[in-house]
Symmetry: C2
Subunit: 200 residues, 2 copies
């Protein structure tokens, strides 16, 4: 039997539909059949691309994290300094959330909260957090060397606090249907707590 | 036909099993049959207590929030001051998370992230956040009047930041299987940013 011809475009389409559905209906609320229908891909081909729903979930998390990372790099590269870059990136995310009517939120937070018992997905989520944390730490460390961020707390520690507070705020945003929790994270942490003026 | 006899104990048992299952398997991953089996309640009686799975979900969120609120009140009442009370309450939660092997986490964060499209459940989650925010604001405001908390930022604003950062940290805890994110929220926010010494 000939090996089925796999297309990178079809795989990406399935991942895009998967991300969209996982975001709004959660992991357990998403059916593979529905994803295939949305992507107009015949049912039989799913298992040529993914071993299982769990494998597909992990790949969707990686796909989401990769798009997120590319967007962050794009925004940060165009910014005059890394702290302005972080603010712009959060503004970009807020704009997207507002445009979608506060639906969806962040796949990493949603599946991090929902999923239990899938080691493959847990590792994909941990890696997504790790990449995001690394990029944020780099930005804050550069901010410290430029005198834009307090130096008495490790950049890595500030970055952890920032992304964890952001993730909780995204959940609150979904519930309250308001950007206020997200604006608060930027105002209280980046603009105030992280400011060199607050240095002890 | 006689109206079925409803028992408060059976209702509470169903809610307890619902909370346990929603915590670990999420809303969509939880089946009503499984909850009934766990609670050893005959299938037919479910609809005497709840109109639908959605109605059951909202009641489970209220049940969880009510237990959470009672525990917070209990810990806060026994504390020498409200800031020590908040720290003790978070320590209590950390002890529970550690004992459960970092499984489950917080129902409010998990369902806040997963659920979309259920207005009834969204309102129940918003109310749970609201009650928690009110109790935390009261504690921080009393802390301000005692000189234990900075006064240049509204207690309500600090309380929002604290519970949102905590919720994000609970999700990170689940993914990393570590209390470090939770300890960070206490150390960075309560012990540092909220401290009167940091007052601008």
């Amino acid at each position: 039997m000939a090996r089925p011809r796999l297309s990178e475009a079809t795989r990406n389409l399935l991942l895009q539909e998967g991300v969209a559905s996982f975001l709004v209906q959660g992991y357990h609320g998403t059916g593979i059949k529905q994803v295939l229908d949305q992507a107009r891909v015949p049912k039989g081909s799913f298992y040529n691309y993914f071993k299982s729903k769990e494998d597909f979930g992990a790949a969707a998390i990686q796909h989401y994290a990769s798009c997120f990372g590319e967007e962050m790099t794009r925004v940060m590269t165009g910014a005059p300094d890394p702290v302005t870059g972080l603010r712009s990136f959060f503004e970009t995310l807020m704009g997207q959330f507002e445009a979608s009517g506060y639906a969806g939120g962040c796949l990493i937070a949603n599946l991090g909260g929902e999923l239990e018992g899938s080691e493959v997905c847990r590792e994909a989520i941990a890696e997504a957090f790790g990449d995001w944390h690394k990029a944020t730490t780099d930005a804050l460390r550069e901010g410290q060397s430029l005198g834009l961020v307090r130096k008495d707390v490790e950049a890595a520690e500030l970055a952890h606090l920032l992304i964890e507070a952001w993730e909780g705020a995204v959940i609150r945003m979904k519930v309250e249907r308001s950007l206020a929790p997200l604006r608060r994270v930027v105002a209280r942490l980046i603009d105030d707590y992280f400011s060199p003026a607050d240095q002890g």
